[in-house]
């Protein structure tokens, strides 16, 4: 059995009478790219939120690197190196790109005394490199709130990389991004995975993107895990096709 970094076992979560997740189990492998798909309202973001500690789960277990994290609050999970980006992009709009990057330095690796130091030349260089990496270098001194939605998404992605996570959960990274830029983004996600060794777990609506990106894909429908497999297997799975076309 290969190295599992996130292990979700039998997780259920309901909001009032709505069962968002029912007995969901899945694994994310270390060093790989795992995808999560499903029709609208199938419980993908709920599962993400459960993993990162956004809300308590009703039952089941979630382990990160072997440690049970289902009872931990968001910041403690983030400090373990499990990071997420938001579907509704969240950046610091009043600050410029470089400031956003510097705020994203991995504070979890700093003692209080380290935090009381000024940013080093290396920090600035790394910020510039990563902004270059996502193609925002030219716009790095612009107020981030003035960037387009797609650019803000790229900035949020760069901020996440700056944080040096072990594992990164991306909620619809290509939504709102210009179709011509999407290929570039796929390439960058793959490079982030290979060059920085960051495990990626991606929610994605765009089938072309997820099929090109992920090595292993899970499909949720009506809050239940419907199928799991390689992109080929998922594409040819009748249950998945039915779920998307509404036969389920």
């Amino acid at each position: 059995m290969s190295d599992v970094i996130i292990d979700v076992q039998g997780v259920s979560k309901s909001f009032g009478g709505v069962k968002a997740n029912t007995n969901v189990s899945m694994q994310v492998e270390r060093g790989g790219i795992t995808g999560l798909i499903g029709p609208n309202g199938s419980g993908k973001t709920t599962l993400f939120n459960s993993i990162v500690g956004y809300h308590p789960i009703d039952g089941g277990s979630i382990k990160f690197e072997g440690q049970e994290i289902s009872k931990l609050p968001v910041q403690k999970i983030a400090r373990l190196g499990l990071l997420r980006t938001f579907q509704q992009t969240r950046i610091y709009g009043a600050m410029n790109g470089v400031e956003n990057m510097l705020i994203s330095l991995p504070h979890r690796k700093m003692s209080l005394l380290d935090a009381l130091k000024k940013n080093t030349r290396e920090d600035y260089e790394r910020a510039d490199q990563l902004l270059e990496f996502v193609g925002l270098y030219e716009k790095r001194f612009l107020k981030s709130g003035d960037l387009s939605f797609g650019q803000q998404k790229l900035l949020e992605f760069a901020m996440a990389l700056m944080n040096e996570p072990t594992c990164l959960l991306l909620d619809e990274p290509t939504a709102g991004i210009n179709p011509t830029l999407i290929n570039g983004l796929i390439d960058r996600l793959k490079r982030a995975n290979e060059e920085f060794g960051i495990t990626l777990f991606v929610i994605e609506h765009n089938m072309r993107v997820i099929m090109n990106l992920a090595e292993s894909i899970y499909c949720l429908a009506h809050g239940e895990m419907l199928a799991q497999g390689t992109p080929d297997e998922i594409q040819n799975d009748q249950k998945v096709i039915d779920a998307y076309l509404g036969a389920h």
Binding site: V74, R79, F86, G93, I103, L105, M110, L112
Partner: protein, 345 residues
Amino acid sequence: MGNNKIILYAAILAITVIAPFVFPAFGTQLATLWLMIIVALTWDMTGGQMGYNSLGNIFFYGTGMYVAAAVTIGMVYDVGEYTSAHGGGITSFTDQQYFTGMFVGILAAGVFCSVCAVVIGYLTFGLRGPYFAIGTLGVAIAAGELVSNWDWIGGGQGIALPVYPGDLDEGKVFFYFLFALTGVAVFLFCRWLYQTRFGAAINAIRDDEEKADAMGIHTLRYKLVTWSMAAFFVGIAGGISAFQLIHFEPLETAYQTINLGIFMVVCVLLGGKGTLWGPVIGASLFHVFKEVTWNYFLGWQWVALGALIVVTVVYFKDGVMGYLLHTKPEWFGVKIDQKASEETS
């Protein structure tokens, strides 16, 4: 630092040093101005930079007063006996006892208030926005009531400290410089702090605490540290005030929530929240405004003050610095790349 800035800092420092000698009649007023600058700068550390609008910072001022007094007295006499003898004679301190007591007492006030901030912060930092403001205000009011019923430290009558052993005018200058020194220290401390990663992190907490959490920033730890830094300086300012005022009582002087407790917030709003110079400018403007109305519009001074607060809050939310930042961004080195911003939009 550019040449202009060095000249500006040098000029301000020079004015600070010569002011009490050029305007000897305003010695106490100038000392109070520095007190306002201290409490405004420290209020802005949490209120402006971190987004936590405390109405309870006056708690640290009052507590600082009492701690400084109790420690100073306690080093020579029994505090309970001293306060119950109230005016009954045992108030003699040698010069050495006075100055040693003052030094230790003021320092103890700062440290004690720092610890208080951590404890109170631990209980109240779960509150957000107006709830935090009201929660901390409650702490300050409750503390005032508790202290005024605590006979050991003088109860509602307050405490009388020994008088400055020397010439009265010399004493005024002495306290002016204590405040000025603390004020300059607070300013330089803030100036340094806001340039560190820590400074950026508390700005992140202000702008989006949830995101800061999700990025793994130790939000609670940073909030506690920031507030305890602020409390340290407010405590010291309170300690100095205790010696300057000689006699103080809990509700009107020490835990004066409706006076200094509100003034510090108004100073910051007037000068510009979340900026280094805003609190300094705001405190100066506010203090001048207050003294002018108190002298020339007596009877209407509270009305004028209320009007100033309303106008500031409604029409001048960003304060002087905010206004300048919008209208003259180039003064602050903000470069706006016209071409790039057009491409974006």
